[in-house]
Symmetry: C2
Subunit: 608 residues, 2 copies
């Protein structure tokens, strides 16, 4: 119920079945649907994806940050009176109470036992299902015409744009630019213009000799449990100049090289036809200009692709900016990240480029090394972002709350105007404390990684009941935090958690040209997944993605919003109805157990 | 020494280093080189690969089978006098003595302990090498210009032609033929001509609806330890008609469809530039016509590709042919397999097609389910092939000996004429008895699989000392006999066995378009192999392949025949010299241990 509250507030998704068992009557079904997130449908083939014309008028609202959260005011008078526009605003006090409630729950002995047992039961139940129905499932798939694992839609639900190309692709691109335009000015250093040739001369290298070995962007054994080493792999040949030149949206060339590579990746996706991807682009919050620049980069280089939808990742590196005196406080960082979005939402006509770009942005991610320890415990008494001026980095939970809070207000404002909303999809549970998973349980629509659910039966069971989507990247984990064979993906899938497969960083982790297929192939081989398993994962990936309602209908079937076998169109998903029925029955069974217990408790309470 | 004897006799390879430690002085180096196998270099670009002109004249020799082995006679008189042409002929008595010697050795307690300890030592030594030199190796590779894992040559050393295409490829091809030529006559049944449409009508299916699921050629969990089920996966949609039509060289269309698919696979290899493959085509031994038909298929459909070299696989299914009364005895089967080759070697002018085809054939394979038990123990007293008329199948060791014996005589005959020789490269140690590995130790140049070396320290150590190449296919094993994580490839590689990676059956096992890359990628990911490891495996694969001397010089370096770092050209192989030196030193160290022990034993014997 706690998660449901936060999900509804932010237009995040919450499964109907679970909601119904939690006590809402069927009468509320319409209301449930209203809470669905809203993604902009892709432009029609005859439409110009870069058309700046259709910007709605200025509402004239004012925005002001208070305590790290942006408040919207109808006009100056209301601002002076501190009477914000009627939108839901988050309340830190309630939030911390809710947090501590869940924290208490996950350490409660009997609850742990209960959840542990239910999870074991779920796993055994699936094994039984598999033994009994494996052949029937496959028979269903065999008699399903024209659809197989290769032509079901798959979305790469977690991939960083700066590493979305394969290492070989980057290498080829670097060589190509050097061959075709060595004398082009590509940077400015201390007022001096620098050509591509000069860049490589200063690095004492001839790109002709460059190999994937000397490029050295691939993660290896050296990166295991060394996120710092992994991060430095983003620098080709170890040179940050090349990262700036080839993998950034802001540089002397206006990010042209990066845009060209991303577009090459997009063309490959379009050719493959059935693969989609949700690359993450960075907004750092150093300056309020970043959004404008990013939108311009997107439009100027025509980066739109029907097979890509964009996510904005915000690295948790306030401490670095603060120590370099680029930011006075954490509040300023939040303002730099969110204020431009509020402005573009209130007055799209004066922010046409950003308004346009936001049509293709479907969510936010929070990224960095989760294993970094933080001394600060987030609570009601924590300094609010505007007075968080220390050089210390706020903890994970603090970041998540303030990201969520602002996205939530923004989504409500945008919904009011009929604009698309955003999902919060942070990295969570890759490493570090399991409390991260508690924060995300309240604030996130879905998460990336979720490995640490392994360590908390209560959280794992809650993530199951709430069917929280988890984008897993076992090859990434294998290089960074957890060996492939120990990855819980298979176990999670068996129990019925809503998992998808994603690549994270093809540049660092993958060997072949088709990174997502490599990810599926390895999972299928190592864990001996059946076609039905693979297609279930693929279906999950489309569901958890930011693809629009129209696209999901096309890819999953007209009724994809419905849960259970009703919502599955085997002709499009190639998931056996037997499997869907099993999942649905199993979930209903778990939920009815709980709701029966709740009811009998209520009766006991009444009787007493 | 025993292996060396059999290797020399058959023009198989034997490592110089090992030979030298076994007692040959350096003076014999020239002699050692003479024993090298001889593969026909590929035609030059301006040459016609199908040119039938250059056939050498008829020698007029006669050939006659005696005791399952083909003997060559200079003329009729010599045949009558039973005085064969001066070639080495195998001697079963010596062979069985040698076999029993090795069999005694592998069960000898102290020998087992010694080998077990040395193997443990080899593994630990490599770990130490890795810890100390991993970064230096990588540094060497980084400073090696223009060569990386992607552009070192790799040979798929074990792949069956009938499964060399990906399942999706086969599916697309079937659909394409149906779309473009549904009314073509593709078969004849009881004298009736049958069109493609009729074939599918009789199967009650529309190829438009066909999917990889309904095609059902992919191995899954159901094939584990079920070689029979795996074999039936060769039938698309479970229909042997389609196997005959699409995956056979002999049918109404003269194997046209199969040839077209193989050529499509070849084009992809040529485009990838760095990948080569050695597909296996079947000769069953049912009739003496098979060779002629196969050669004609090859030439008529122009199947030659510079990136493919061919191996002939002989299925061990005499029992099936015998029970169908297609063969009177096992000897007849051997005759059907080998006599045409002797004839084409003696009189190429009258067998121009086969003579040409044999230029591109580099070896023989013996294939079938090794886990089938046999009641018969091969010994001197076993009935010879001409009187093996029972319906029982001869055991593995019997097959191997007679295959080897005939190949050996054939190679000597061909060598005398300056024609290319063949390698015997049987499947061995995939399952069943470890004695198979003893047979192969004597008779094979190299083997496919070798999993069971895991179970015999003595054999494993012998395979190490003799550096017997092993083409391993962990993805195939994963679906059939051994889970991926339990595959000994990594361990064998560490110890210094001469392993390569191969795909076996891309149609059944692989998911992506690039099966060999998938194989390498999964091994790299699951076992965290370094670039140097991968390049060492790739180098091994070229060495153990049937590519010609000229090609090997081009792909591995001028001195590739030399062992140790001298023989390695890092600019071509991307294998660090540190690694090469480590391997060479380690092998020399093991060998000198043994040769010292031998010497001191000799001295003790003298003193006594």
């Amino acid at each position: 119920m706690i998660r449901e509250k936060y999900a509804r507030l932010a237009y995040h998704r919450f499964p109907r079945t679970t909601a119904q068992y939690l006590g809402h009557g069927v009468a509320n079904a319409a209301l449930l649907d209203e809470g669905f997130p809203d993604f902009h449908p892709p432009p029609l083939p005859q439409e110009d994806p870069y058309c700046l014309e259709d910007a709605p008028p200025n509402l004239g609202y004012l925005v002001c940050m208070r305590g790290g959260i942006l408040f919207v005011y109808d006009n100056k008078q209301m601002l002076e009176r501190q009477e914000p526009h009627s939108l839901p605003y988050p309340d830190l006090e309630t939030y911390t109470v809710d947090m501590s409630h869940i924290l208490a729950l996950i350490t409660d002995g009997p609850t742990k036992t209960y959840c542990h047992r239910r999870l074991n039961f779920l796993e055994s139940k699936f094994s039984l299902h598999e033994m009994l129905n494996e052949m029937s499932e496959f028979k269903e798939l065999k008699s399903n015409p024209h659809r197989d694992f290769y032509n079901v839609r798959k979305v790469d639900t977690h991939i960083h744009a700066a590493a979305c190309m394969n290492q070989k692709h980057l290498l080829r691109f670097i060589k190509h630019t050097y061959q075709t335009e060595p004398d082009r000015t590509v940077a400015e250093k201390l007022g001096q213009k620098v050509t591509l040739r000069q860049v490589f001369d200063s690095l004492h290298m001839d790109p002709y000799d460059l190999t994937v070995d000397s490029l050295d962007v691939h993660a290896g054994r050296q990166t295991f449990h060394r996120f710092d080493k992994f991060n430095s792999k983003y620098n080709p040949v170890g040179a940050s100049e090349l990262r700036d030149l080839y993998l950034k949206t802001e540089n002397y060339l206006g990010g042209e090289y990066f845009a060209r590579m991303v577009k090459e990746v997009a063309r490959e996706l379009e050719e493959s036809k059935y693969q989609y991807s949700e690359p993450r682009l960075s907004i750092y919050g150093r300056s309020p200009q970043e959004w404008q620049n990013l939108a311009r980069w997107f439009i100027q280089h025509k980066v739109y692709s029907p097979n890509m939808r964009w996510i904005i990742q915000v690295p948790r590196i306030y401490d670095i900016f603060r120590s370099k005196k680029l930011l006075p406080s954490f509040g300023k960082m939040l303002e730099n990240i969110f204020l431009p979005l509020f402005k573009a939402t209130i007055n799209p006509q004066d922010h046409r480029e950003l308004h346009l770009f936001l049509k293709y942005v479907t969510g936010f991610d929070s990224v960095d090394d989760e294993s970094k320890h933080s001394d600060h415990m987030f609570s009601e008494k924590s300094p609010s972002p505007d007075i968080w001026t220390s050089e210390q980095n706020p903890p994970y939970s603090y970041y998540l709350y303030y990201m969520y809070a602002n996205i939530m207000v923004l989504n409500n404002l945008r919904r009011e105007r009929g604009l698309s909303t955003f999902l919060f999809r942070p990295h969570c549970g890759e490493a570090g404390s399991i409390t991260h998973l508690v924060s995300a349980f309240l604030t996130a629509d879905n998460i990336s990684h979720g490995l640490l659910l392994k360590k908390s039966p209560v959280l794992q069971y809650l993530y199951y009941l709430a069917q929280i989507p988890i984008a897993m990247s076992p090859l990434s984990n294998n290089s960074l935090f957890l060996e492939y064979s120990k990855n819980p993906l298979r176990e999670f899938l068996h129990k019925g958690l809503h998992v998808s497969l994603s690549t994270d960083d093809p540049m660092q982790f993958h060997y072949t040209k088709e990174a997502l297929m490599e990810e599926y192939a390895i999972a299928a081989q190592v864990w001996k997944l059946s076609t039905c398993d693979l297609c279930e994962i693929a279906r999950n990936s489309v569901l958890q993605s930011g693809l629009s309602h129209q696209e999901k209908q096309k890819f999953l079937g007209q009724n994809y919003c419905k849960e259970g076998p009703e919502g599955n169109d085997i002709r499009k998903t190639n998931v056996a109805q037997i499997r869907m029925a099993f999942r649905y029955e199993t979930l209903c069974n778990e939920l009815s157990f709980l709701s029966d217990a709740m009811k009998s408790e209520e009766i006991t309470a009444l009787n007493n």
